[in-house]
Symmetry: C2
Subunit: 226 residues, 2 copies
Amino acid sequence: MSKRSYDQPGCGLATALDLLGQRWTLLIVRELMVGPLRYTDLLSRLSGIGTNLLASRLRQLEQAAVLGRHELPPPAASVVYELTERGRQLESIVTGLATWGRQYVDDAAGVELDVRSEAFALHCAFRPERARYVDDVYQFEVESAVMHARVHEGRLETGVGPVPYPKATIRLDRHTWTALLRGEVEDLAARGGGLDVEGDRAAARRALRVFGRPGAVKSPGTTASR
Amino acid sequence: MSKRSYDQPGCGLATALDLLGQRWTLLIVRELMVGPLRYTDLLSRLSGIGTNLLASRLRQLEQAAVLGRHELPPPAASVVYELTERGRQLESIVTGLATWGRQYVDDAAGVELDVRSEAFALHCAFRPERARYVDDVYQFEVESAVMHARVHEGRLETGVGPVPYPKATIRLDRHTWTALLRGEVEDLAARGGGLDVEGDRAAARRALRVFGRPGAVKSPGTTASR
DNA sequence: CGGAATCCTCTTCGATACTG
DNA sequence: CAGTATCGAAGAGGATTCCG
């Protein structure tokens, strides 16, 4: 069993780092920000982690109530790990770190899109201060990557795949997508052909406002690929 | 030499964690948020770190341009470590983590005030969104702890000890101080006797607005004590 | 096949001792 | 004061095995 603690009870930062400061922990949170995952999915997405560590980290995080274990209903009958409310409170910290770290990476364009990574990029580009009164469900389609986003009460929830009744479905090519994330797409018509909307155009216009930070994420959280 | 990297170039979070995710690193940033420190001061404030690790972390952080090494002018002729602009960009992440971690700590009142810890608590209680048009220098005095804060262009800078010409000097007892940090002191007169202002009362009123978050830091970042 | 525990090697940490 | 050098202990990573 582990216990390399900073032993500074009373200090919030030291306590937070006792829980989250170990290797892999925040990457697990990153993975779950886009939606629940099974043990094996985590294992394959976090290439290099080693099964014992993953098990140990999940146990610690569950104990700290950062995530929960849930059994899926019968058809799937499997266990998924999911962020709790406490875990979701880490979202702005994780995206903040990701955005900060971005200044060290030189953008050699990735090879293939990973849906969850792109959905995470959406989190990084999200501007809560602009989402105050927005209540929309969007579907995004970038090449083969289909994902959705719900903006509700100033918060963002994302998921992979399509969603039943989106207010607007926004289809983009790769270049327009990264431009959107950087906040460089201000107008539905501005880009010739790179962007196509189905559904409520006003909602799509709100999406352009709510996503896209000036200095933010260009290419996304590339997770393991091999 | 070390290199246990996540090896996910292209992912901002993984890159950030390669730099900051090792043990002690963010606590070093925390210490420097309140102002420059010498090697030995860091060593004594981060009880448990071990001198080789501190040296190694400082080297890495300097290389990543998170902090800088500066020689003090002749009288002191000593080296201090100081956050760079990049390092200061981590402030909101560090205070966010500290605030998040706070929910796990039960507030058994600390024994003795540490000025730097209280100044750090001020960072945690700072609300940038309310500081947009504020441009003030305050001095705070809580028991034996004297510190100052400059709010300028939406950002906060703190330091220990007195400051030449503060707009307002605010003296508080310990209880009122923690209440202030929690955002529970709304009025200069509200607390009988716990608070005393010298200088510009309007500035002091702004201070009450700019510091103090609802769910925020109660007792501060207690650093090592032994 | 999903969800781990075990074993073994290698890296990192922490403490102490030592140096310019 | 500001570090470097050294060394035992704890933690990480990889492979293999086990359980349901």
